[in-house]
Symmetry: C2
Subunit: 223 residues, 2 copies
């Protein structure tokens, strides 16, 4: 097996600098990881690359020793300079096969999809190109104004069915519906506001963990 | 000597997608190189990284066989994926020493400076970190609204005097003042509007070339 792959995507936190507010992203991440977050993506579309590099390094310091991987949204150069564990790309970011070639085989590479067709296309790439898919938005959300139409649980199930790769669900997921989302067969759930905007990010993360330690419940299980 | 360095910076074109308009950046670059442009930097702050990568490749195709180097503004990942000849960084972009380490020794690395102090700081970096400085703006300009206060010719002379590296002057330079700017001792002049907005980019480039083929005239020469 190569490098840190596969990652534990059970509870995947995407950072939001504005929502973290005065506490700062690294402190929110530290608390969230203490609460059970298993992977972190640093995302800040408003930061310069220089600011983003500093932010990624601060998050790496915050999770040091926990084994939690840190991925960087979009900015491949920043990920390389920081020695991050991986990159997350959108459909309109740099082409995944070329980014994989630049990153080498050991880095995590996640790709956003919003339809079953995009999931199939990602799974049809050469093995080892993409590690996991971020499917969404499940619900409409204010933290990603350019997002596609919401999938809902049925749409999410269709993406999961179309994908041979692990799928994490993203978009408006909170503690109240985390189990219902997990029951679609996803490898994990991805959250932004539910943790970054929470007064107690550790408690918020804990409330989003699977109720069964064995992972997502099987389709048709207790809702 | 390493790779394509040192570059001929006599007439250095920075692209502007909006000014190039319907003709498209690659056609403007092709004409400008035919007119005497000796180096090209692809700059498009509004493009996504994916769009920028496509643009860089189109510009590389446009100059193929001419020996004119193509640099990329800011986007180190795009430069790496495109196999560009180099990168140009601003003071707020990714740190130059780290970018140099990522690029390896053979790529061109230019850095923007707007004061003699910034020029001295760049020249104090380990040899081979920065290849050349872009000093400006000489005059105020609409194509870079976030630029520092204009240097004028006297300020430009101070930057040149402070720099052990080749300096290219940028910012509002046109055919009427190109010789006066060259007389400050710069290695070349850098233009955006004067070529990208010109009805005939080849003729516009020709009009910006040094009048003496020996290069910039000595200070005190014929104005």
């Amino acid at each position: 097996m190569r490098g840190p792959r596969p990652a534990d995507l059970t509870l995947y936190l995407v950072t939001d600098t504005h929502l973290a507010g005065a506490r700062g992203v690294p402190d929110v991440v530290r608390a969230a990881v203490a609460g059970g977050v298993s992977a972190v993506q640093v995302r800040d579309k408003d930061a310069s690359r220089r600011e983003l590099l500093a932010l990624v390094r601060a998050v790496q310091d915050a999770v040091a020793g926990t084994g939690v991987p840190v991925l960087v949204d979009d900015a491949v150069d920043v990920a390389l300079l920081a020695g991050a564990d991986g990159v997350h790309l959108g459909q309109d970011d740099l082409p995944v096969q070329e980014v994989r070639a630049l990153l080498g085989p050991d880095k995590l590479l996640g790709l956003s999809v919003s339809t079953p067709g995009q999931a199939r296309a990602a799974c049809a790439l050469p093995p080892g190109t993409v590690d996991h898919l971020g499917a969404g938005p499940v619900w409409s959300t204010a933290t990603k104004p350019d997002a596609a139409a919401p999938l809902g649980l049925d749409g999410l199930r269709e993406v999961v069915a179309a994908s041979a790769l692990p799928v994490v669900a993203i978009g408006g997921i909170g503690a109240a519906d985390a189990e219902a989302v997990r029951a679609t067969g996803v490898a994990g759930i991805c959250v932004v506001s539910a943790v970054c905007a929470a007064p107690d990010p550790a408690a918020a993360a804990r409330a989003l963990l699977p109720t069964s330690p064995a992972g997502p419940s099987a389709p048709g299980g207790t809702p």
